[in-house]
């Protein structure tokens, strides 16, 4: 692939996406008493997480800027495209 291609993850409108560990994942499921199904979804080939090499079942943590709270954390479950 061409290395000169625009990297969306560097754009200011794209918040930070991080894969969380299994321990964090289970903790998250426990605090909200949910399973992967109730979580908001994201495709594994979404441009913002493509570089993370995720697989279905992973959970991404997204740290966004928020007009009300300054910074806010959001989670999305990865599904296959």
């Amino acid at each position: 692939m061409a290395t000169t291609k625009f990297d969306v993850t560097k754009h200011i409108f794209v918040p930070k996406h991080i894969i969380i560990s299994d321990r964090e994942k289970n903790q998250l499921f426990k605090t909200y008493s949910i399973t992967l199904r109730e979580l908001p979804k994201i495709y594994s080939n979404d441009p913002a997480i493509k570089h993370l090499k995720t697989k279905a079942g992973d959970v991404v943590k997204i740290v966004r800027k928020s007009p009300t709270a300054g910074e806010t954390v959001y989670y999305r479950g990865v599904i296959n495209a």
Binding site: T31, Y32, I34, R37, E38, L39, P40, S66, T68, A69, T72, V73, Y74, Y75, I79
Partner: protein, 867 residues
């Protein structure tokens, strides 16, 4: 109360399609003739109005169930179709099945060894994404099977299917008759059906092609008798008549051995009638019409869309004990009162229970009857039977009355009512008021509650509902009282505040007004304040001191008036720093920034510290105080309010002339080609931008000049300064210069060739020819200026007319999409299926209605604890 016994419990529901067998089984009559009634007007046996299908005439009994009109629910019938007919709503499904099964052996076009794999894929999809994911997967499998051209089971070649809308199927240019389609679908084995998401027990594929048509009971298509004694049949009956007639003709032709072309034509015609019987708005078909030309309302039209059963009858129900009329203002009513016309109060009633203790009291209502206010309209007996009270029956009713009965008495002062104005966009659109019965024919409301209803008095109408039980009253009072709705959940400030005259009045009062003591007391009394203990014992009392009487004794507040600049000296001079200490207004003018709806924290703090009940009382008094002040002072605006001294008029004129000259110079340099373009712009665009900038600048300067030189003591200026109505721009347009008229952000462009009006020269770019209005409204507009003004006026009128329905539909979609979303106890936002939408409500977990304008003042909380 004991639990009601459960006789049967619903474990599961199976959805399917009626089979021909079932249709026959549930039918109680076979329809064979299109005739409806015989010569005596009696329903024909085997006709569409057969009395075995139910009765709609009084006096007749149903042959099936033996009950009379209103008791018989109606019964289905059936007709045998001479040839099979495709059910329009299943054509896509039937086609998908044809495409993905073998034309010879009927098996799915998937090899034997792969079938289990596909089944597993579907099960997995359902496990992960629910039933909708399974359906999506089935769809993708079907599309994939379209391309298969050889059956993996019997090795026969497959053909291409095309659909000619709405109901004709071609296989390689050869037309497939419904008979063939049905026989193909019959071949599909049960185990293959499951793969398509079809339960073969409740839904065999071949049932999508009808051989028998169920006839709906007469009770769902009643005929009406016109005044002339003529009968007028329901649209569905008309349609069914067509079907039966064509079906009979088809039978006769087939039996007589008519040529194939004639039979096919009749067959197509029957298909058309059956399709339009289900849905008369199929895109490719001309809708079936009455003789008058209006389209028939068939089954789909009864259910679908706004006038259909769901949105009209199920989602939108009508109510009794409600009233609607024009609204008008009455500032002398309390904020949570509503003026109800006597006429309305005598129609709307409240059922009051008769007890030993109120029997004599209620008997008086009965005695007055329905025509004398306050009387009563009905007596409800303990068994629920209602008896109308009339002048003739009232003596008899009084005799009968005893505890346990119920009197529906007229509406009276203090009764609870729910008041509403459409569109009901937020919860404040329906609030609970106390009734005040008044003369005349309009609903009266305090102008301060116009804001939450978004009402004005240019002809608006509003609705009134009377809760009919004590429980409903209590609930309405607790949840919907005006005072409980003070703080808007949208931005956390009071949405009810002073408006218009109340603001100008308080502004004048708190701005250097002095009154003798007797006048001050009179004023406060008029505002219904009775506690004068905080009124200073002086002979001359200032307006601020009068205002302070209304405030709680320990209220402390610091805020800003409308004219606050941040410059300490200027603010002191203009008295724009609001300071309230121990319930005394020490400095600051009370204007829109403090008293208005949705602005300032004074009202918000009052609610927080003294509760909504006290606040609404104070607010009502402030409102009346403002109005009474204005009443005493006199307050009129006139044409001379916009007068300017000759000197400033000359100055404005010169300023505009200068601007015109500059614009001329710009146009000249453009014509000579000397104008330099802005980066990324053409020279023409640059010229436009520069002209627009220069003219706007000139207009703004005239605005400042008007603000500087105009008489500040006039009523017009007071209204603008207090924020009651109007702004400096309106004033500048009246006194100085109206300014540039713009369409789509540009100066007005040529409607004729290269010019705006034929009055101008071609290619004229001067301000006057492109919609700049140099004159003021008072000075008068020239004809071309007036026309430009009309252009922008029409444009904005069009804009609002087009935007209102669009935003209404957008709101509807939004509300429907979010109707089951709620905030859980852990502050996460979830929908009805438990899906997480947001992890923290609003990302900051704040309930806006408990904040001050969306924020929480932490410093003040700390201060209040540490002090």
């Amino acid at each position: 109360m004991t639990e009601p016994t459960v006789h049967k419990q619903v474990k599961s529901i199976v959805f399917g399609v009626l089979s021909p067998k079932l249709i026959k089984k549930m039918a109680s009559a076979k329809v064979v003739t299109p005739e409806l009634y015989d010569k005596e007007g009696y329903p024909v046996d085997g006709g569409l109005m057969d009395i075995r299908l139910g009765v709609i005439d009084p006096g007749l009994t149903c042959k099936t169930c033996g009950s009379k009109l209103k008791e018989c629910p109606g019964h289905f019938g059936y007709i045998e179709l001479a040839r099979p007919i495709i059910h329009y709503n299943f054509i896509t499904l039937a086609l998908a099945l044809l495409k993905s099964t073998c034309r010879e052996c009927g098996r799915v076009l998937i090899p034997k060894n792969k079938i289990d794999g596909y089944a597993k894929v579907l099960d997995d999809a359902e496990k992960e994404g629910g039933i909708s994911a399974r359906r999506a997967k089935i769809k993708s499998i079907i599309t994939a099977l379209k391309t298969a051209n050889k059956c993996p089971w019997c090795k026969s070649r497959q053909q291409k299917f095309t659909l000619e809308k709405p109901t004709t199927v071609y296989e390689n240019e050869k037309r497939l008759t419904p008979i063939e389609i049905r026989s193909r679908l019959e071949k599909v084995p049960d185990e293959d059906c499951t793969l398509f998401g079809i339960n073969p027990v409740a839904f065999r594929p071949e049932w999508t092609v009808l051989t028998i048509l169920p006839i709906p009971p007469v009770t769902m298509r009643p005929s009406i008798t016109l005044e002339s004694g003529e009968r007028s049949e329901d649209d569905l009956t008309h349609k069914l008549g067509d079907i039966v007639r064509i079906n009979q003709r088809l039978f006769e032709n087939i039996n007589a051995g008519a040529p194939e072309i004639i039979i096919e034509d009749l067959w197509d015609l029957l298909q058309y009638h059956v399709t339009t019987f289900f849905d008369n708005a199929v895109a490719q078909l001309p809708p079936a019409r009455h003789r008058s030309g209006q389209p028939l309302k068939t089954i789909a039209a009864r259910i679908k869309s706004k006038e259909g059963r769901i949105r009209h009858n199920l989602a939108g129900k009508r109510t009794n004990f409600s009233a609607r009329t024009v609204i008008s203002p009455d500032p002398m009513l309390d904020l949570d009162e509503i003026g109800v016309p006597t006429e309305v109060a005598m129609k709307l009633t409240f059922p009051e229970k008769v007890t030993e203790w109120n029997m004599e009291y209620l008997k008086k209502f009965v005695e007055r009857g329905p025509k004398k206010y306050p009387g009563s309209n009905y007596l409800v007996r303990p068994d629920g039977k209602k008896k109308k009270i009339t002048d003739e029956t009232k003596e008899q009713v009084i005799e009968e009355i005893q505890p346990g009965y119920c009197v529906e008495r007229h509406l009276m002062d203090g009764d609870i009512a729910i008041f509403n104005r459409q569109p009901s966009l937020h919860r404040m659109s329906m609030m609970c008021h106390r009734v005040r019965v008044l003369p005349n024919k309009t609903f009266r409301l305090n102008p301060a509650v116009c804001a939450p209803y978004n009402a004005d008095f240019d002809g608006d109408e509003m609705n009134l509902h009377i809760p009919q039980t004590e429980e409903a009253r209590a609930e309405a009072e607790v949840l919907m009282q005006v005072k409980t709705q003070l703080i808007s959940p949208r931005y956390g400030l009071s949405i009810i505040g002073c408006i218009q005259d109340a603001i100008s009045g308080c502004y004048l009062l708190t701005n250097e007004l002095k009154l003798p003591r007797d006048k001050a007391v009179e004023l406060l009394l008029a505002a219904r304040e009775t506690d004068f203990s905080t009124l200073p014992s002086k002979d001359v009392i200032t307006g601020k001191e009068i205002f302070s009487v209304l405030l709680p004794k320990d209220f402390n507040f610091e805020g800003r008036s409308k004219g606050y600049t941040g410059n300490a000296d200027e603010d002191k001079k203009n008295d724009t720093v609001v300071h309230i200490k121990n319930g005394k207004l020490i400095s600051g003018i009370m204007d829109k920034a403090n008293l208005g709806e949705g602005s300032g924290l004074m009202l918000r703090n009052l609610v927080k510290l003294y509760g909504e009940h006290r606040t609404i009382e104070i607010l009502g008094k402030i409102f009346r105080l403002g109005i009474e002040t204005l009443l005493r002072l006199g307050f009129s605006c006139g044409l001379h309010d916009t007068d300017l001294p000759q000197k400033s008029k000359d100055e404005i004129n010169k300023m505009l002339s200068d601007a015109y000259k500059d614009v001329d110079a710009l146009i000249n340099s453009f014509n000579e080609g000397k104008l330099e373009a802005f980066p990324g712009r053409s020279v023409e665009e640059t010229l436009e931008l520069k002209i627009l900038e220069r003219l706007n600048d000139a207009r703004n300067k005239t605005g400042l000049l008007v603000a500087r030189d105009i008489n500040k003591e006039t009523a017009t200026m007071i209204m603008a300064n207090s924020g009651a109505r109007g702004n400096p721009l309106n004033l500048a347009q009246m006194a100085g210069c109206v300014g540039q008229q713009a369409l789509r952000g540009k100066r007005i462009e040529g409607g004729y060739f290269n010019r705006t009006l034929s009055y101008f020269k071609k290619g004229d770019l001067s301000p006057g020819s492109r919609g700049f209005i140099r004159n003021s409204f008072k000075g008068g507009l020239s004809p071309s200026e007036f026309f430009f003004g009309a252009m922008t006026g029409r444009d904005s009128l069009m804009d609002t007319a087009l935007r209102t329905p669009k935003s209404g539909y957008l709101y509807r979609r939004l509300a429907n999409a979010m109707q089951d979303v709620r905030v859980e106890y852990d502050k996460s936002v979830r929908d009805a299926t438990g899906n997480l939408i947001q992890f923290n409500y609003g990302e900051d977990n704040l309930d806006v209605s408990k904040t001050e304008g969306g924020k929480i003042n932490v410093q003040r909380i700390i201060n209040s604890v540490t002090d």
